[in-house]
């Protein structure tokens, strides 16, 4: 089974190659340039590289799908849309890099973030289990290091926790993959869709273990406990990146597995645990948010629930559901990046922007920032006029249409709970509390402000022009 690798194969992974090479260039630039300019230079070069990659990727969107490297990588609308979301997450979090990541480390952090992005992008386009696993490990390895970059013990704790727990989950996933390989005799997704496998116990056991790994990476309950701790310790931009890119990449793998790689008739039964887990996550994630005093923990729990919403859209396996899941994922990306951008503008060496206590009276100190933060939080809660609102209605419609109305009802209940948690932050910002200790902002962060403004505009535009890409049905061959 030898194949010929041609230029077209390399073109299919061109965006990933561009991002990877940008990472090397960033390191080179850091080596050659004076220290005081290298910080912004590294970030801007990294962002520029990702923008170029995004342009290259989107150019291929309308061209016919191409199966590269003998099925290892698939260039199609599905993968490209996910890659674009991941690139946006990469850019949006890269430009937030500031202290406490020290200046000397910024070039390295930039390079790692770029390579992590590569990993997630590989997952989005992966056509076989091997590339899925390598992409995941590339992403995770970069994140282990990034988590530990802040200069404080909690950051190291975060890195270590993530390393150990994530490796365990990778072990589960790898075992599942091995069994799937045993079932089909091939690592390719394409060979899993063989109807003869529907009765193979290996498929069921392997698929189950594989899904455990997926559930861990998506931080679904009961595999969620790591995410608040890891998010809390990691530096802000890393948390921003992790909260979106990991989820986007894993969701892409899950959607491809679910839509294209399962033998006919197995999806309903094999995936039922995932829907149940998604329902539990929607409730538990939102309940977990209520007690949080740290923005990053809050977002971690919020992310647990939001993934539940996205899975609600996927339940039933309709094409429309997938489109709405992507729409919501994109909306979630911008809401999260926006909230993290505002938190970054408040932060200095000690990341003050991640402590919710520091938001008391923020509405008085900085009305624009508070208004934007309110907007992003209410978008996460799904209040109008935001893409969160429209995304929820689209998800509800698709769940009703696909016969999973019970997930829609759970979504409604979860949203009602979540509102309290989000509104609590909003209330703190606008509280008439005269006794707040004056907390002063930090050095201006023009990039973060720009990011917040862009996120705001995009969310508004997404609300009123709800474009959902149509060319996204995943293929495996």
């Amino acid at each position: 089974m030898t194949i010929n690798v041609t230029n077209a194969d390399w073109n299919a992974v061109a965006p990933i190659i561009i991002v990877a090479i940008t990472g090397l260039l960033v390191l080179l630039l850091d080596l050659l340039s004076p220290k005081n300019i290298s910080r912004y230079a590294a970030i801007l070069l990294g962002a520029a590289g990702m923008i170029v990659a995004g342009v290259v990727a989107s150019l291929a969107y309308w061209s016919p799908a191409y199966v590269a490297f003998g099925g290892a990588f698939i260039q199609s609308g599905f993968g490209i849309v996910f890659q674009l979301i991941i690139l946006i997450a990469g850019i949006g979090s890269l430009i937030l890099v500031r202290p406490p990541v020290q200046n000397e480390r910024i070039a390295g952090a930039t390079a790692l973030m770029l390579w992590g992005t590569c990993g997630a992008m590989l997952m989005a386009g992966a056509g076989n289990l091997m590339v899925v696993f390598l992409g995941l490990e590339l992403l995770s390895l970069a994140l282990y290091c990034l988590c530990g970059l802040a200069d404080r013990p909690s950051s190291r704790e975060s890195a270590l926790k993530y390393l150990i727990l994530s490796s365990t989950a990778s072990g589960f996933m790898l075992y599942g993959m091995a069994l799937l390989f045993g079932a089909s005799g091939s690592v390719a997704f394409a060979d899993l869709a063989n109807p003869a496998l529907a009765s193979s116990a290996l498929l069921w056991v392997g698929g189950g273990l594989f899904l455990v790994g997926i559930a861990f990476k998506l931080s679904l309950v009961p595999f969620h406990a790591w995410s608040p701790d890891v998010y809390e310790g990691a530096p802000l931009p890393v948390t921003a990146f992790m909260s979106v890119a990991t989820k986007a990449g894993t969701l892409a793998v899950f959607a491809r597995f679910m839509y294209a790689a399962l033998p006919a008739g197995t999806a309903d039964r094999l995936l039922l645990p995932i829907w149940i887990v998604a329902a539990i996550s929607m409730i538990a994630g939102n309940v977990g948010m209520l007690a949080q005093h740290d923005l990053k923990r809050l977002i971690a729990y919020s992310g647990i629930a939001q993934v539940g919403y996205i899975l609600t859209a996927l339940a039933g396996g309709t094409h429309l559901g997938l489109r709405y899941a992507i729409y919501y994922l994109a909306a979630y990306t911008f809401m999260n990046l926006g909230a993290f951008a505002i938190a970054t503008t408040m932060s200095g060496d000690r990341e003050e922007g991640s402590h919710l206590a520091n938001y008391r009276g923020y509405g008085r100190r900085n009305p624009v920032g508070a208004a934007l933060m309110t907007f992003f939080l209410l978008a996460m809660a799904g209040l109008p006029p935001t893409a969160g609102f429209l995304g929820k209605i689209l998800i509800l419609s698709s769940s009703v249409g696909a016969g999973y109305a019970w997930l829609g009802v759970v979504l409604i209940i979860g949203t009602a709970i979540s509102l309290y948690a989000y509104a609590k932050v909003v209330r703190a910002m606008y509280q008439r509390d005269e006794h707040v200790h004056a907390f002063e902002g930090h050095a201006p962060a023009p990039l973060a402000w720009a990011s917040a403004a862009i996120c705001f505009v995009v969310i508004i535009v997404m609300t009123f022009y709800p474009y959902t890409p149509s060319n996204v049905l995943p293929i495996v061959k």
Binding site: R364, P385, F389, L396, I412, A416, L419, R427
Partner: protein, 473 residues
Amino acid sequence: MIELLLILVPVVIGAAMQFGRDDENEKWSRWTGALVAAVMFFLALASRGTEWSFRWLSRPFTSAFHFGPTAISYWIVLLLAVCTFSAILAVNQPRRRRFIGQLLMLEGTMMGLFLARDLLAFALFWDAMLLPVFFTLLGWGGHSGTAWRYFLYNFAGGLTLLLATAAFGMLYGSTDVIGRTDVHLVGAWVPWIFIGFSFAFLVKTPVWPLHTWMPITYSDTPSPMVAVVSAVQSKAGLYGFIAIAMATMPDYVKTYAPWLIVLGIVSLLYGAFIALTQNDAKRIVAYSSLSHLGLIVVAIASFNPIALQGAVLYIIAHGLFSAAIFLTLGYVESREETRSLVRLGGLGASNPRLAGALCIAALAALGLPGLAGFVGEIVILTGVFQAGLVWPAILALIPIVLASAYMLRLFQGIMNGPEVPDLPVRADLNWIEGLALAPLVIALVVLGVNPHALTTFNPSAYNATTVSQGASK
């Protein structure tokens, strides 16, 4: 295009007023706000028969930003414009500019709600109109628990509305249905859709037993805001019943009509009896609202054209007099720093204009002939009788008698009796405060004498036929 202006102008100006230092431009804000509200009134007047539409979703169901007043909502929009104008002039809260900005945002979002011809847009503004009230309660309200209770109750309603809207869209293929007469929803899902809508509407109205957020909200919200909330926002649920539930799924409304009538009657009686026992002036009016709105629910559920006309009349009338009462109580509170009927007393002698204003509003509320409240009540009762619902009509008479009792008690407790020596009695109404009340009082009288304009809509568009079918007990 007028619709777009009606929605966006108040929201944008109101939002702009939130920025800047606390004490800047306080003086100008009132006149800016009043000017905007007045312009909105004339725009609303001119909006009759206009429509504006812009495609929003094409799948999974078609949906549009489709705005334009219906025959019923036209009047509610006018009511909203008048009430906002009056409320803005009556603002005497600290941080006035921000407060007026919140009022304007409330106006804009509610304009969106009542002008919406699309269910999805309706649901969008349903949630959006909660925010200004929530922020006002946080910034100016008494106890922060009130804000939460208001917000969570109503947002829960908004969520079921959202779910029902999604199901509606999936079933019918379009949500662009408000004001259309050819939509008739059938299917196994429809009862659930109806229940989803009803929950939202009943919470918003409110109706017993979902009213528990209401008295505390009404008494804690500053008077200008609560005037608008009780006058207009509480009508959103009733309008939803008429324009959405009755118009698109009449069979199911008829099936559930007995339940609605029971809930309406219970609210009617419960509200009236509790109002008799309250000591806080604003709570009296809050419970009287529960009672009055219960009457409208009964009217709607009786599926009778005359009752429906009466319901619309009473929606407007209740809006006018409850706004007037709340604004007047606001004046009293800002002068005497209390709302307790035990503490207050004898203000009438030194404040004749204040007493006169409260008198007119209270008389309208208890249904004095010649004022708008009477017309609404009498038409509703006639319609309910005609629908064959004799016992509900008789039961509905009791609270109307009780209304006289609690409204007079309210008036006497504040204005009559010996002057209380330790009350900080200050000046009578000044001309701005008078100007604030004037449009409401004029409208009450005009509509009381000539209510015909309000009843020009066609009740059969809402499936209210002369022969009542499902609603007879």
